[in-house]
């Protein structure tokens, strides 16, 4: 199967400081040689700490910002050679939703206008059918069509995120980039949006690039995960394989730190010492070596390459084969008791489903 999206050796350096005459003095190496691919209908999660470059990658993929080097192919086409018209057509196929649904909807437009705009811009639906399409989009994301007349401020955070998703869906994209889509939402609302994203993927065959720092959410939603540190991918694998046994010392630390909802959970947490180095002046050699518990001399001077093992699991670490087993590193929440499992199930199959989405006025 050919990939929907292929990214090769992507580089983006931002100028952090300029001299009096505009000459660049310092660069933030936000993305420094990132490669991955994504199949249609699948979810790739980009994870890592703040500043690791995961959001920059997602914007580069959409050409919201221009890369300094590298290749991006979408459906076989070279994205970086597209002219304005081509780029515009590409925007029909790839969309993005953001963390803050408050900031991403125009407060002066009604929901109906917000959803009609992409239909008009891309000339997708004849004027007479637009209202019907808006109603259809709202139903798709679990909102009632009558809400089209309302303004964004009349909705809760979860509902606004649904509207943002509906707007992304308006152009019938193949790829949606979800940049921390549930981080600003309450726990119970978060699960609604995650369920919605999953349902839409199944129904519409969407591919997602899911950017998140919440690893339990990533485990839930992703097929494939790429762990990023300071502008580079340090490990990439099937989600199940990664969570079963992370290999890179950074992935180990990250996954071992997930707080699980189980008191006294057995934990072999690796608490990283030291600060995250600055992307302005990343460490030489392996960029993780300043915080790595397994560092050896070679790590300080020689940058490790991302080496695949043949099963789709690739790691960028000189010591991959020598490290201790990581089988018990990801904390276990042990699951619920059978009774609690049944109680929880009552929520999923509750009779109140029809009541969702309403706005109290």
């Amino acid at each position: 199967m050919t990939a929907l999206l292929e990214v090769e050796s992507l580089v983006k350096h931002f100028v952090a400081e300029r001299s009096l005459f505009g000459r660049a003095l310092a660069h933030v190496k936000a993305v420094d040689g990132v490669s991955f691919s994504l199949e249609a209908g699948k979810t790739l999660a980009l994870v890592g700490e703040s500043g690791c470059g995961k959001s920059t990658v997602s914007r580069l993929v959409l050409r919201l910002i221009e890369p300094d080097a590298g290749k991006i192919r979408f459906g076989g086409r070279d994205l970086l050679s597209l002219d304005a018209g081509g780029l515009r057509a590409f925007r029909r196929e790839a969309q993005i939703i953001f963390q803050d649904p408050y900031a991403s909807l125009n407060p002066r437009m009604t929901v109906g206008q917000i959803l009609t705009e992409p239909l008009v811009l891309h000339d997708l639906v004849p004027a007479a059918r637009r209202a019907a399409r808006v109603a259809e989009l709202l139903r798709l994301v679990g909102l009632e069509p009558r809400l089209a007349r309302r303004y964004p401020h009349e909705f809760s955070g979860g509902q606004r995120q649904r509207i943002a998703i509906a707007r992304a869906l308006a152009v019938e994209p193949k790829l949606i980039i979800c940049d921390e889509p549930v981080s600003a939402l309450d726990v119970s609302i978060r699960s609604q949006i995650l369920n919605l994203l999953r349902t839409l993927q199944d129904r519409l065959g969407l591919a997602y690039i899911f950017v998140s720092h919440d690893l339990a959410v990533v485990k839930h939603i992703a097929d494939h995960v790429a762990v990023m540190n300071l502008g580079q991918i340090v490990e990439t694998a099937e989600a199940d394989a990664l969570f079963a046994a992370p290999r890179h010392p950074y992935s180990r630390a990250l996954l071992s730190a997930i707080p699980v909802p189980k008191p006294r959970a057995k934990s072999s947490r690796i608490v990283l010492q030291g600060e995250i180095p600055s992307a302005l002046n990343p460490p030489t050699g392996c960029r993780f070596h300043t915080r790595c518990p397994y560092v050896i001399e070679r790590c300080r001077t020689q940058m490790p390459q991302l080496v695949p093992d043949g099963t789709g699991h690739a790691t960028a670490c000189h010591r991959t084969s020598e490290l201790p087993s990581s089988a018990a590193i990801v904390p276990s929440d042990g699951g619920f008791s059978p009774v609690l499992e049944k109680l929880v199930a009552a929520f999923s199959s509750g009779p109140e489903a029809a009541r969702s989405g309403g706005v109290s006025s």
Binding site: S156, V187, A216, L254, P263, E275, V344
Partner: protein
């Protein structure tokens, strides 16, 4: 646990009077107590009243718009009737608080040293030199590298995790008896979160202070709390020792919350969701406030407000259908 609690909140009610004449019942009859050296988790979603409760303890609610009744007994004082001057002596001294966003709670135009030293001098007196030494010691305790140098830096020079550690150092400056932490790790990455949680555990063990941890993250609660109070729409709906809350929750809202977290061990296709919306707190419903969203609702639930009853020793639930186990077996 000692017999008399360090802090005891009884029948706390907080109403906000809006400019438009609307009255919002933010907190409605909350009873809570925390023993010396214990950590209480206060859990709930946006708007449930958890942060407002903590601000009431600290005496930080605006007097002109917030109407507060009930009692908050702490260390021989009723904090709600304590004069402002005394309250200022308590705050930062025996009572301390850390907030979610360390950047907005540090003054950007003073060095972190100045800010910690100010607290020490205000409450403990002594010379500036000894206060500075104590500040360096505090920064070392929260694992800030080279504290002798860092103490003269401004907040903007520090990373998020480092700032949060400075906030903790400042909160600990006068060995508080009670530390309130409002979402202390929410703005941080998991690796930093792990560091801060580790630090809070360490400090609790060393100082014996009581902690009220306000969070919406049940994972964090499971890790650091001894007891948990779950709030919904201004009320405590469940209170239990941490083990029991996670193994046998007795309020449907708690069950819904637990079901909505993605779990690491178990890949569910769909997560549990709590349908519907939080009630409008200008006119709270007559019966159970969760009834409209509850899969176990009966007619009786909407008639009268359910009392908080003890289901088993130390485990309280505000649900007339509790214990819940028989409902599904």
């Amino acid at each position: 646990m000692s017999a008399s609690p360090l802090i005891e909140i009884s029948d706390l009610r907080i109403r906000f009077h809006g400019d438009d004449g609307r009255v919002t019942h933010a907190v409605d009859g909350v009873d809570l107590s925390v023993a010396n050296g214990a950590t209480l988790g206060l859990v709930g979603e946006s708007g449930c009243g958890k942060s407002v409760t903590s601000l009431a303890i600290m005496g930080l609610l605006p007097k002109q718009s917030a109407e507060i009744s009930g009692a908050i007994r702490f260390d021989g004082f009723d904090l709600l009737t304590t004069p402002d001057e005394t309250l200022r002596d308590l705050r930062g001294n025996r009572l301390a608080m850390i907030f979610q966003e360390p950047m907005t709670s540090l003054n950007p135009s003073f060095t972190i040293g100045d800010q910690i030293i100010e607290t020490i001098l205000r409450h403990r007196g002594g010379s500036r030199k000894s206060a500075r030494e104590r500040a360096i010691e505090l920064l070392r305790r929260v694992h800030i590298p080279s504290p002798e140098r860092r103490i003269d830096e401004y907040p903007h020079k520090l990373s998020g995790g480092m700032r949060q550690r400075v906030m903790i150092a400042m909160a600990l400056a006068c060995d508080p008896r009670l530390l309130i932490a409002d979402e202390p790790t929410t703005a941080l990455d998991v690796t930093l979160q792990a560091q801060i949680l580790e630090l809070m555990r360490e400090l609790k063990a060393a100082s014996g202070a009581a902690i009220i941890l306000i969070t919406h993250d049940l994972g964090v609660v499971a890790e650091v709390c001894d007891e948990v109070a779950v709030m919904y729409a201004g009320e405590i709906v469940e209170r239990a020792p941490v083990d029991e809350l996670f193994s046998a929750p007795q309020h449907p809202y708690t069950v819904g919350l637990l079901g909505s977290i993605p779990r690491l061990d178990h890949r569910a296709e769909q997560l549990a969701t709590i349908e519907g919306m939080v009630p409008n707190m200008a006119q709270p419903p007559a019966g159970c406030r969760f009834a409209a969203r509850c899969p176990f609702m009966l007619d009786a639930c909407t008639k009268a407000p359910p009392p908080l009853v003890e289901i088993s020793p130390g485990h309280l639930s505000r649900c007339i259908r509790a214990p819940l186990e028989p409902l599904v077996s």
